[in-house]
């Protein structure tokens, strides 16, 4: 019988290709479940899950909460803006207090890279990282690669370009690690100021010209320009960014092949991705959102069952 190699999902870095394959296989079954007239199964009915979000999120949190409810888990939500964190409580104290109420799993987003790793050394509950600063966002990478897998049937040998703000993006790092583990060729493309200096050490190639990058790839994952993480200016203006790196219909029509467009959301329409490209048949953005629930169900189910 199959089982994940880890007790927590802290990052893609810590899991194996076999783990990813198992998550995909399980997620495909849950995708069938969430398309039924009754979209709910009783698997996690004796499990309580705390969603602890120290950083804002709409999509990820909704997606996790829906996944938990579809599995019949009991769910409690916590966001730092309305909590005692504002009164100076430490992370470990906050989480231990929540766990004292008999919680089995923790889904956490935190602005400090490594926060879930720190927690995993101190608590018993299963931890799922829902994004830690600019470090990793494993479930996003799993749902992105699962979406590619469902569209193409296999990831081995596919060419994937990740466009945009690689420097501040946990989605980019997790995606690169997952894609490499699954045997894809990965390229990053963006303004040189938004590419980390040693990015090629992850085994990816670098391209500064968006047209060449799109011409090379089968799939383009277009990242959001994260204005909230930029204290200094990395490029002159949003208008200039969208002129040089914005993906639009004209650019896609100029290629001599069909490519698939992805975006982790939320889209800054007209900046990194134009509306005519985001809403075109190239885009699998809404499939990503649907798959997100199925993939998160698979992760929670497999972690909970491994006890």
């Amino acid at each position: 019988m199959p089982q994940l190699s880890q007790k927590h999902l802290l990052g893609i870095k810590d899991i194996t290709k076999k783990d990813i394959d198992l998550i995909f296989e399980t997620a495909a079954n849950f995708k069938e479940v969430i398309n039924r007239p009754i979209k709910k199964v009783p698997s996690l009915r004796d499990i309580t899950i705390a969603n602890i979000f120290f950083e804002n999120s709409t999509r990820t949190r909704l997606s996790f909460e829906l996944a938990e409810k579809r599995l019949s888990a009991d769910v409690i939500n916590f966001s730092s803006s309305t909590s005692s964190v504002k009164k100076g409580e430490t992370l470990l104290d906050t989480v231990n207090n929540i766990l004292a109420m008999k919680v089995d799993m923790v889904v956490m987003r935190h602005s400090s890279p490594g926060a879930p790793h720190f927690l995993s050394n101190h608590i018993q509950a299963n931890i799922v990282n829902a994004g830690d600063g600019t470090h990793e966002h494993p479930t996003q990478a799993l749902l992105d690669t699962f979406s590619i897998y469902q569209k193409f049937g296999s990831i081995e040998g596919l060419k994937v370009v990740i466009v945009g703000d690689i420097l501040h993006s946990r989605v980019a790092i997790s995606n690169i690690l997952a894609l490499k583990k699954l045997g894809a060729e990965v390229m990053v493309c963006g303004p040189i100021t938004l590419l980390p200096k040693h990015i090629t050490s992850l085994g990816v190639s670098v391209e500064l010209d968006i047209h060449k990058a799109l011409q090379w790839c089968d799939v383009a994952n277009v990242l959001r320009i994260q204005l909230e993480r930029q204290q200094i200016k990395y490029f002159p203006s949003l208008r200039e960014y969208s002129l040089y790196y914005g993906v639009n219909k004209r650019l896609l029509d100029g290629l001599n092949k069909e490519i698939t467009i992805m975006h982790p959301g939320p889209i800054n329409r007209g900046v990194e991705l134009s509306s005519d490209a985001a809403d075109s048949h190239h885009s699998i953005i809404l499939d990503q959102v649907e798959n997100g629930v199925a993939v998160r169900m698979a992760v929670l189910y497999l972690l909970a069952g491994a006890n």
Binding site: M1, P2, T26, R36, A304
Partner: protein, 134 residues
């Protein structure tokens, strides 16, 4: 196999679906590892239909209980009957009985009953009664 023969016998079309019960099992977290799921394929609504639930071996009855739960996610059937190829007597954990039985067999709980069908790609239809060391 049963489905095509049944359609021939009664002379009308009968809907066919496959049900996986993994997510409805009552031993989740009570085993060492999570059970592996198979695909479910039910392309029709079973609301107000007569359903025959088919399984190869009836043992503790827990799978059938899970299957009944799983089936209700596709609607409320008028009537459900259970057909099994092998009915292991005296091993039931739950009050569940089959309506149609291929063959009854006396077993003890530590034994295993394996069914190999030509339809699954085996050379011959075979039923094994295997003694396991306990």
């Amino acid at each position: 196999m049963i489905h095509t023969r049944l359609e021939k016998e009664v002379g009308k079309k009968i809907d066919l679906g496959y049900l996986d019960t993994t997510f409805y099992r009552d031993d989740f977290r009570r085993r060492d590892e999570p059970a592996k799921a198979n695909s479910t394929k039910v392309d029709f609504i079973i609301e107000a239909k007569n359903v025959v639930l088919i399984d190869d071996v009836l043992f503790t009855g827990r799978s059938v209980r899970a299957a009944l739960d799983a089936m209700m996610a596709f609607g409320r059937p008028d009537k459900v009957e259970l057909l099994v190829l092998m009915d292991r007597k005296y091993t039931r954990d739950l009050p569940i009985a089959a309506d149609f039985v291929g063959q009854e067999v006396n077993t003890i709980a530590s034994q295993r009953v394996l069914v190999e069908l030509e339809a699954q790609g085996f050379k011959k239809n075979k039923i094994w009664l295997v003694n396991t060391e306990n």
